[in-house]
């Protein structure tokens, strides 16, 4: 493996591992806030104990999330130095704010959350818990503003003197529609994850006939919050897909394995076997109109297919070569205003010309065959995207069904009646994580071959370091993260097995609580 593949593998491994902890933090922090609000409003001690018990599990997860997130920020400097230079002026600000939010705001408030129970008033502690929840969401917002810019780089301009992208409109970066859509979709996925965590463990307790008062109340919170989250994640996922269809047409075409442009409105391929070599989808089961309606929200707009987008990429590469030649001349004659004007006219396609760097260093002499190869390289891995997206969506609809059922059983006080439902809740525990990881694969693997869509090819972003260094640190990460995984699973299982009574050191169900729940 070369340095590009190793650097990508290292970032993918650490990002996917880190994202095991993020959604649970996002969801569980708000669930804790809901539970503590009920405690403050009703004064019932069991709700405080629920916050403390689920808060213990939240704490284990939070610590792991912070520990695994730090390494990624370092990787921008160690493995992606050219990327850091090329886009650091834009990408650096939201990333830095995210770091400050995560480390200073969240860490301080999490400390107060755990150690402030006997030192703060009820309302004071509730404000701290609200701060933890809001801080987590803000942390996600900033990282998704940074990520959204990688998908849709607006509010920035290439500076030929500094050889990097520089912010021209920070509000455009901040209110990037892709970032906003990704943020609400991602945090909603976090709410589903947190709800599923509480629902599944509560279902386990009910199956074991342990900690019934806590489990029933927890399930009620998880059912309602989870249903709202599951509905949001599907609706907002649709919005995220719509924004992608505006500026990442190749990603959408790859997700749908749509090789040829169809007459509007395009049909949706429910299942099929995408064939990359033959550029066709075998055994496709299609639903007429649906793709066109979802991605264009109209019946007369076309969804471009992969083959047409490749032809467009060829045109953009040729246009980018004009920008590249102009840039080379401008670098030699910095004061030439005509060259600057000419560069501005073609600079939007400069990144496309840089795709040719994979095939030859003197890209101005690229042959037609090399241009065709570079254009083909804009096609991401279609089968992986096609199936990752479908499994993620299937999980999303399952969450609506499961939380809808849980909500109905909670409203009619039948949560304990059907063991099949409790088993379904328990065994659905891994699914939100599966969906979240697949979502990131669709978003990030689907962006390839770009590290910044249309601006900088991934292979040009890596550092000029030795591949052995990256391999060494990759092995280090795998060993270290495996150790963390063992510690995390051990601690989670330990406290779930112990249950709230032993974790908190006293029975959580005060006398009369059982009767109160049954009533």
């Amino acid at each position: 493996m070369d340095i590009v593949e190793l650097s990508r593998l290292q970032f993918a491994a650490t990002a996917l591992y880190h994202f095991l902890f993020v959604p649970l933090t996002l969801g569980l922090s708000l669930i804790l806030l809901i539970m503590e609000t009920v405690y403050v409003m009703t004064g019932r001690a069991i709700w405080r104990d629920m916050v403390k018990f689920w808060g213990t599990l939240f704490g284990i997860n939070f610590a792991m999330g912070v520990a695994t997130g730090v390494t990624m920020e370092f990787q921008f400097g160690t493995n992606w130095a050219y990327y850091a230079h090329y886009v650091g002026d834009v990408f650096g600000a939201p990333l830095a704010i995210e770091g400050l939010m995560a480390f200073f705001l969240e860490a301080t408030l999490v400390g107060l959350f755990f150690f402030g129970w006997n030192r703060l008033s009820k309302v004071g502690h509730l404000i701290v818990t609200a701060g933890v929840a809001v801080g987590s969401q803000f942390s996600a917002l900033w990282i998704l503003i940074a990520n959204g810019w990688m998908q849709f780089p607006i509010g920035a301009k290439f500076n030929p003197d500094t050889m990097r992208m520089e912010v021209s409109d920070f509000s455009a970066v901040l209110f990037n529609p892709v970032a906003q859509a990704k943020f609400v979709h991602t945090v909603a996925a976090g709410y589903v994850t947190g709800s599923m965590f509480v629902l599944a463990i509560s279902a386990l307790y009910l199956l074991q006939k342990r900690f019934r008062p806590l489990a029933l109340r927890s399930m009620t919170v998880a059912a309602s919050f989870g249903l709202a989250g599951a509905l949001c994640v599907v609706v907002l996922g649709d919005e995220s897909g719509y924004t992608a269809s505006e500026n990442q047409k190749m990603k959408i075409a790859a997700i749908e394995a749509m090789w040829e442009t169809e007459p509007a409105p395009a049909s949706f391929t429910l299942v099929g076997i995408p064939d990359r070599a033959g550029r066709k989808t075998d055994y496709a089961v299609q639903i007429p109109w649906v793709l066109g309606l979802i991605t264009t929200r109209s019946i007369d707009k076309q969804v471009p297919g992969i083959n047409d987008l490749v032809k467009l990429a060829q045109l953009r590469i040729r246009n980018g070569l004009i920008a590249y030649g102009t840039l080379a001349r401008l670098r030699a004659d910095r004061g030439n205003a005509d060259l600057r004007k000419a560069l501005d006219a073609h600079v939007a396609d400069l990144g496309y010309a840089l795709l040719l760097k994979r095939y030859r260093p003197d890209i101005e002499n690229a042959t037609d065959a090399e241009i065709a190869r570079a254009a083909d390289s804009t096609i991401p891995n279609v089968p992986v995207l096609f199936w990752a997206f479908r499994v993620m969506v299937a999980c999303g609809f399952w969450f609506i069904a499961l939380f809808g059922t849980a909500f109905y059983f909670s409203a009619t006080r039948k949560l304990e009646r059907y063991r099949l439902f409790l088993y379904a809740a328990l065994f659905s525990l891994p699914l939100p994580w599966l969906a979240a990881e697949l979502g990131w694969i669709v978003a990030e693997y689907g962006r390839q071959p770009w590290v910044i869509e249309g601006v900088l090819p991934t292979f040009l972003g890596v550092s000029g370091t030795d591949a052995h260094n990256v391999l060494f640190s990759l092995i280090g990460f795998v060993v270290f993260y495996s150790g963390l995984a063992v510690a995390d699973v051990y601690l989670m299982v330990k406290y779930i097995r112990l249950g709230p009574d032993e974790t908190l050191g006293h029975p959580v169900a005060p006398p009369g609580a059982l009767a109160e729940v049954a009533a």
Binding site: T78, Y82, Y86, A328, D362
Partner: protein, 51 residues
């Protein structure tokens, strides 16, 4: 030994260990000797092949 003093010593020892580990990481992997220049000139050379 009072619990408070023991806690203080433990925290002090941990902080020392942390400083040593971070220092070692810096000198082994992040010190000036390990850094390659990634400025405008380096990027121009990387992207444009400028010498």
């Amino acid at each position: 030994m009072p619990a408070r003093h023991r806690l203080g010593r433990e925290i002090g020892a941990l902080l020392c260990a942390k400083v040593i580990l971070l220092g070692a990481l810096y000198f082994l992997f992040f010190g000036p000797g390990h850094r390659a220049p990634h400025d405008a000139a380096a990027t121009a050379s990387h992207v444009m092949g400028e010498r």
